[in-house]
Subunit: 321 residues, 4 copies
């Protein structure tokens, strides 16, 4: 879990992984939801049995102008919330002609500015995206394939938390710390939870909590971060999990393990494996509860907003124990 | 269930109902979630047992420019979805300096333009809102009390569908048709489902499906509609349900039963009773499944986006059987 | 000026005109402002002498939700104006911590939803735009060439109004009525105004006023309209005017004179000739004044907002006599 | 021009100035444009004669995400420019069904985030605004009185530049430096320009150029700044100028001269005197030209976007010599 000392990931490594891990066609030529297909109705029934305390955890940061965006990445900004009608107006008599006193509001937000799902149309490999669709099917009118709305009733199943820093006995992983396959497997063993086909796996690095404690986001959104190493793409493919989520901006370790390419793990896991990715998850409360009762599995329900042709969606993920 | 022939609801009737049904202070002076307090952990555990088939239903309309808004109400408009980065750009080599090929996007939307939760700060009674808070606490900076973010981990429990037109043997209720207490109770008996404390009760009128079949929304968002009669406020208070949802724009019958005031039922149920309201729910698929298996209860999870100080939130409500 | 009965404009006609009228390179390989180069400092000095009455006319429609957009064209919508702070809040004491009472606001608007300039990056011919730049230089990050900000100090000079319906003795031209070169020339003669190199030529069709009188926009923004015939592209090239403006949505006659291609005149005049185009100009008051004093020339100042890399800009054009 | 050593401005001073300088009713009870009434047609004719070189200067900063907003003031942010259609899409064949290849775009921006006019509805005194209108007439639906659209054909006349740092022989005034009446008068004498009734007076402090040279805005938008002292309100009233503009965020010296109230000069000049204020003007090029030819007067045309009921407008002000 220390910074990798071995050779950097090369473009050839990326290409090899792409070929080795490719899931295209596995669920038919028309599939647009990828590894979410790994969830069976029985998995959902089984997951429901994990609701034993009746205790729900929201894994969302609130969406507001205190969010993590600081201009580091591609024109993203924090949510802008404005009012169309207010209680102050109502009391001042400015709504009398309407006959009911009310408030109303509006939001302008990048879909990936806060707690969020990446849709499968979010990342491309060469000229293609998930399941081999032409990347040009994501144009100025949106994602004509692999849009987030295709997953609207799919983000439900068994959730598993892998709390890496707690397992290591530390508050949070340092930026740049890579999490490898061994880390994932040993952490799961230590926390007595088995990762299974169809799971929503949530990785805690502690980075977000570190920022929240410090009262400043710094490079959280787009800068350096602890996160998954490139090799974990193989683990994702092998375990056949449904989705992978993290308390960081992009799940993947940064600085990246490459010399040139940016976000090499993304190149593989979204377009080639077809996995949905959850980012900027707030896991503090859930993690503390898991530590307390020793149960690292739970029912998970994180429905995206079905914004037509969108390549992501803000989400309020719910874990229930 | 025919159009009311008896006397219209007067301002005095509204005032009387406000006094009679007021829940203020019931959950302490600092409460901001109202009847969501009716849900106990055991209710959630019990609701989980309703997941027997592992089948999930999204109750959201997709969010896009084909949505129901047509300018009838208060400057609301349909979602505006634009791209910050596209696959076409990626393939054309316009992202080479970034090192990863990706798409990204943004939305501008009124929070109540589609499938949505009303927060308790959405409607006022006189100069106050839920739990007696000053209505002026909802100003241009948002709802300093009773914002939607307070409910972020609360919209979970047992769901019950009351399919009024199916019980009546018709496709949909006509606009202007009021649903009374007798209708709710008889429908529940006929559909062999009991409404209990802490439930999320979803009313189907068929209006949305009628519009979808016709291929035009007409006055759906702000015009006439079938819906709940004023008298059902008493039923809501008596049954102690957690939330009430509908497949219409505003749950309430329109034209309203009043001569002057607009949306009289809203005056009572949100600010006085403190109930969260779900609107523009898409219930067709769920209703067909309920009709088929005869089971009108289910696990319900509809987490709002915790947009800080917002008076509503778009939502993708999930029903699971 | 009747609907054309002769043969339709073919793709070959368009290609021929493109070659015949091409201005590429005329002002150097790095030019991004096209025919605005036709204006000399002396032209501006001369134009200033047309200010004889000290009377200014705004040629802008107000920007609000009553604007002409009705969803006919490419996701354009009317301006959305919302408040960040209000006087009602101020009086209610909601701003006391700030120390000054104020209102503030925000707009979301397509840049071409109302009275507007088209930038030279707005229309492409094949894979190129004005001056031969690759059309792909207009990507999701905007127009890296031919953006509106390049014209920020250029929209100043002599304005000329050609009031076609007044010359014809009618209120407005019918939709579909084409204005040809003869019309332009004869109207100028009749109105005793000479069109000169470097002019801002404003064409009145009366369509906007017809819509305003009717109280509904109908197909104004994207539907049928009176307007310039394809042949006028040659006139524009020959006269070396600086810009062409109109009281319609797109200057060009609609239905178009083609069988297949849309907006053939646009194909030529923007990318090949390099002329800036003003659209949705409100000319009623100016036209009435010109009719009254018989003077159809004036000082013209219509500065675009220099929105970096934008392909258009809302504008409040000013004519001064 | 050093930091004031005499007593601070008190609330009583503000109240006294309000009474002393009040222009309410001067142009009738229905007036909504204040001192813009000071401009006569003859003033415009005379101003036109100042166009002697045919040289135009744009006084606007470009509007983009490099703008000065940094979150210091009231939820303002820099412009967000996104594309609705692109040349990349066009070339990739994604627009073939449309028949014309084009780009289109959209902006979301606070109206006062960059170079801008304050409307008279922007600042309140007590419960009133310009001409005595109730401040509550600016509600969530905008400014029902004193909106920027009322000035749509008024921002035209004689412009005068007072280049304070150049007169002082320095690059820029330090933040906190107050400009007094003596400074204005002596600078005008030194620069051989007379300030007259109906003028648009533009003050240069050099602060913006200092930020541009440094490559960072720092506290430019909302922090400390050089600017006009409170006493200049009397000068504004006495000179009967039409408008006052500056190269700073708010014209007024900051830290303010008060102990409690914020922006005391604003309290007086906008709501009591009724003067339109231009802010964040880019005057570098104009100032250099004035220094070179010794002529500090020019024709000025700065039409606001007539956004209905807005309390400000972005603007591209044009000075012509």
């Amino acid at each position: 879990m220390t910074n990798p000392t071995k050779a950097k990931i090369t473009r050839q490594d990326i290409n090899d992984a792409a070929e080795r891990l490719k899931n295209w066609g596995r669920w038919g030529p028309d599939d647009e939801i990828g590894t979410l297909n790994n969830i069976t109705p029985q998995d959902i029934i089984n997951a429901a049995r994990l609701i034993r305390k009746g205790k729900a955890f929201s894994l969302a940061l609130n969406f507001d102008n205190q969010g993590p965006q600081s201009g580091l990445w591609g024109n993203r900004f924090n949510p802008i919330h404005t009012m169309l009608a207010t209680g102050v107006d109502a009391v001042a008599g400015r709504q009398e002609s309407i006959g009911v006193r009310y408030a109303d509001d509006i939001v302008t937000m990048p879909l990936q500015c806060g707690t969020q799902w990446d849709a499968l149309g979010h990342i491309f490999f060469g000229e293609q995206m998930w399941n081999g669709y032409d990347a040009r099917l994501v144009d100025s009118n949106g994602a004509h394939k692999n849009g987030i709305e295709k997953t609207k009733d799919k983000m439900i199943g068994r959730g598993v938390l892998l709390d890496i820093p707690r397992w290591k006995g530390i508050d949070s992983l340092d930026d740049g710390t890579g999490i490898g396959v061994d880390d994932l497997e040993q952490c799961a063993v230590a926390q007595q939870v088995e990762v299974r086909r169809g799971d929503f796996v949530i990785i805690r690095t502690g980075q977000m909590e570190r920022c929240l404690r410090a009262g400043q986001w710094g490079g959280y959104a787009g800068g350096n971060a602890p996160g998954l190493r490139f090799e974990t793409a193989d683990w994702i493919r092998r375990t056949d999990i449904a989705a992978i989520c993290c308390d960081t901006w992009g799940c993947e370790v940064r600085p990246n393990e490459t010399t040139g390419e940016s976000q090499p793990w993304h190149w593989i896991v979204i377009p080639m494996i077809g996995i949905s990715m959850g980012e900027i998850f707030y896991v503090k409360d859930l993690a503390e509860d898991c530590a307390q009762d020793g149960v690292y599995e739970f029912f998970f329900c994180a429905p995206p907003l079905p914004i037509t042709k969108a390549v992501g969606s803000p989400v309020n993920p719910i874990a229930i124990k």
